[in-house]
Symmetry: C2
Subunit: 197 residues, 2 copies
DNA sequence: CGAGTCGTTGAACGGAATCAATCGTCGTGG
DNA sequence: CCACGACGATTGATTCCGTTCAACGACTCG
């Protein structure tokens, strides 16, 4: 969704470039002139900020569908390093081009604002989820959140490990708690679907 | 910073209204026609989404300086309930007015995009912090992040309890770990400042 | 002066991470 | 076509550390 919308801001796909990255390969470093913003097609990109003490802080881990380095739009340089953790393909959106579009076409700007707003909302709710200590509670809240309001069904679009990562839990914990919820009769599971009862 | 920037989108402060809320008082309910977006001046607003099973999921807790319900700009109705947890004052920005401004003035739209981008980045890094299990590691990363790059100083602008909340730790844990870091000689503390050595 | 809250430390408990092992599946290459 | 390796899914046992409960001094505000 992210992706589609960033793409859709460009009237021609000419300006969007695709790039393949090997594991460990860097896209840019802190201080480099910022010329593009990006989105992950497939794979994983890690953004790290080197600190003055020599360590580095992970700022963001972008997976398939996520955009990253949007802040580059309003900065002359990148503020962190970006590298692929695994074999990864990304889309590259030229910053100047995007700025031009946003300035010239109010409806595109509005579209982008809508995209960013929805990202903000989604991030806030993910953060709020993390405030729930109990694994079982957190999982239930998450399921309630993503379930279809009517059918109360959840299509498992990711692997359980990926869900565990999103929830901030060890995947073993997620397996266990799902099993518990199941025996309690609170949820039903098949390979592809969870239903909240 | 949030606040200032949302305010600054309006050419006249005429359209911005201030509102005082008592603890437990609701601002809007899910399904209400959305006519405004908001920011907290002082106090705390809680956004909850009622789920079909009757429980409710906290979507966001907005504290002083935070804006909320921005997604209302692009929706006819609110998607959650909002209420004050404590005595709270908020700013109210009329949605139609804001949309008009964003459409008519590209530089205002750009300003808003910049604001949202920085929120996205900040939220992502907060989320990433929560992936660090060890309290001490998480605290150090956080300190490195907000420290002045040159002086390595951190001015304590919030109470320790508020920092603990931001970090997703019990405040007792934060006290303890700060004490440990101090005896280890990794940080220095006074009442108002922490220095990373 | 008393209520409330922050800052701080102690002790104990509980639950999630971690390590480990097994099984099934999928893709790959010989 | 099968053997092999990689990885996801799953369950068991153990450890550890952050939460929780508790108590106390200091400070502020009404």
């Amino acid at each position: 969704m992210d992706l589609k919308t960033l793409d859709s801001l460009f009237n021609s796909t000419q300006k969007i470039k695709e790039q393949i990255l090997l594991p460990g390969e860097y896209i840019f470093y802190q201080g480099d002139a910022s010329c593009s913003i990006f989105a992950v097609i497939k794979g994983q990109i890690c953004l790290e900020r080197p600190t003055s003490e020599g360590r580095s802080v992970i700022m963001h881990t972008a997976n398939s569908g996520d955009s990253f380095a949007e802040a580059a739009l309003f900065s002359e340089t990148y503020h962190c390093n970006a590298f692929a953790t695994i074999s990864t393909s990304i889309h590259t959106y030229p910053k100047q081009e995007l700025l031009k579009i946003l300035r010239a076409e109010p409806d595109k700007a509005e579209e982008y604002i809508a995209l960013l707003s929805s990202q903000v909302r989604s991030l806030r709710s993910k953060l709020e989820l993390r405030n729930i200590l109990s694994a079982q509670e957190r999982i239930m809240q998450y399921l309630s959140l993503i379930a279809d309001p009517v059918s109360k069904e959840i299509k498992l679009t990711m692997t359980i490990k990926e869900y565990a990562n999103e929830l901030g839990l060890a995947h073993e914990t997620l397996y266990r708690e799902l099993a518990k919820l199941q025996t309690k009769g609170i949820i039903e599971r098949t390979k592809e679907i969870i239903i909240i009862k």
